[in-house]
Symmetry: C2
Subunit: 329 residues, 2 copies
């Protein structure tokens, strides 16, 4: 296993310490239990947004903690759900008196642990479950669809509305709307390697790729011969458009998300390929995001996300954000 | 070869088209000859900054075109110098009447072609040659030291001063100062694969890494057994500190740069390891940058850069920047 690490048991701790040292102006980190919170926590009168999940998907979620996005992130060990005590401790630190909104990717362990934390938390709260992955129904770690890259878009849009002091019920409804209008599908050219396992999560021959892969290397729709960027874009955009039932003239945000091991040059090439598919379907790409945002350790590959946008969502997408991984306005 | 591409001959063109489609608010792209310029070009009365080099190092340089950084970038084919006609055409588009400053990484082909462009360009001009790589003297593609990740820091700091309407001579002196106060060294865990070649650039056994590797996979100081993150940080920071002749109490910017195939989790872990080395040497890390900025296609590995900062450089580093890859203030 080739990784820039010391002891496999300390990977998460050392990475979090590095994250705090690099971004101490934005975040504070607690190591026992583990959570990352806005340096300015709590923000009085604002609904606090908390997300989390297994590590290995960086910058998700710690990279999105800051003004205009998340108040807290709870990182589990690599590809392992965080525990309820992490979520509860984070909620108590960031609660500014207007309630707490949990944003949870749809994996059974995450959902169960966030539910337990929510039950123990004494303040007002609600939850959004993201399940944007159109590849498969039910999977290795979850029932129903998996929550993947559109979680970033949910966190950005709901985070902007929270910053503008929207109330808990409105934020919950907004997050559900963004999730409902988002579809994602991924493709893996290589497996990822979990540090503690020391070997690739799955086997993939030199001439094969996994269409519809999950962000932990879970099986997708099928293992196929390597396809061109154009053919990949056609299959994925086709699947998403079918799922979202888009119509000509819809405004969309197009996100090309790297899985961690694919260079930016290829991600922009995929953007070009996906854009041509969107053009063919009569979709207007009004916003875009290209880069490594919801990764799968060192996996080569990418996912494509479309979110159907309305004026409110677009305005909230454009609103200022100041985090380690997204910063504008 | 596993890559998200169509035809190997169209990789650069399609990637540039995707880049323009995703960042049309920031840049305009010309495909014959190839250059990327600020959407607002030319900016009257401002010295125009132009950089460039072989592709495959994205986001370098096109990702740094925008307000507060570069006016133009000239991308060559993968790991191939751009041609003088690209640079000349870009210079003529972005020249705002206050002169043009070329920022060139020290590779013989790049230096020669930028010199030819400078000779043909009729306006006032000067050049900065970056050569921050402390690993080796002379290498596969150059005489003297290689220009690598500190080029990003030069472009940011000089770009901020140019935005504040500093004159050509001051900018040239400032860029030379940043370069002189910067040192970088990299390590590769895997080779990169150039699309047109279709196979890894160099061989590296499963238990070996290349210490001091160049950003095209050129040989470094030596091929060694895999080392821990702490040992890598100790060797690299030791080499840079020796080269820069730092003294206790110096303020430094610490940059951990991914080579393209290494996940962010490991880069933050390397930041933690490098920070402990800096602490041991009495260096104050006053600014930081962690991510994939000067890459080598899909190579796994990273480079570490230290730049000794003074108050002027720090203030210019903090100044607003709005590009695809750096955005703050």
């Amino acid at each position: 296993m080739k990784k820039l690490i010391n002891d496999v048991d300390n990977v998460l701790n050392e990475s979090l310490k590095g994250f705090e040292a690099a971004h101490g102006d934005l975040v504070k980190i607690n190591l026992d239990p583990k959570y990352v919170v806005r340096a300015s926590s709590p923000v009085k009168g604002k609904v606090a947004l908390i997300s989390g999940g297994g590590s290995g998907h960086e910058p998700l979620h710690a990279g999105f903690v800051g003004t205009g996005m998340l108040d807290a992130a709870c990182p589990g060990e690599v590809f392992t759900s965080p525990t309820p005590d992490q979520m509860l401790a984070a909620a108590e630190v960031v609660d500014g008196g207007a309630g707490v909104l949990f944003i949870v990717k749809n994996y059974s362990g995450d959902v169960m642990n966030f539910e337990m934390a929510a039950e123990m938390f004494e303040g007002e709260h609600a939850s959004i479950i993201t399940d944007d992955d159109v590849a498969v129904e039910d999977s290795l770690y979850t029932q129903g669809r998996r929550g993947v890259a559109a979680t970033v878009i949910v966190e950005k849009i709901v985070g902007a509305a929270a910053e503008q002091k929207a109330d808990l019920a409105s934020l919950k409804a907004l997050g559900d709307k963004v999730n409902r209008n988002s579809g994602t599908m991924g493709v893996a050219l290589t497996s990822c390697t979990v540090p503690a396992a020391g070997k690739p999560t799955f086997d993939l021959a030199a001439d094969k790729m996994e269409m519809g892969v999950g962000i932990h290397g879970e099986p997708g729709r099928r293992t196929v011969d390597l396809m061109s960027a154009d053919d990949i874009a056609e299959e994925i955009i086709g699947a998403i458009v079918k799922d979202l039932e888009t119509t000509k003239g819809d405004d969309v945000l197009l996100m090309i998300n790297g899985m961690g091991g694919t260079p930016l040059m290829e991600l922009y090439l995929m953007f070009d390929a996906a854009k041509r598919q969107c053009d063919d379907k009569g979709l207007n790409i009004t916003r875009s995001l290209v880069g490594n945002y919801c990764t799968s350790l060192d996996m080569a590959g990418c996912s494509i996300t479309l979110t159907r946008m309305d004026a409110e969502m677009t305005s909230l997408w454009d609103a200022p954000v100041k985090t380690a991984a997204l910063n504008w306005g």
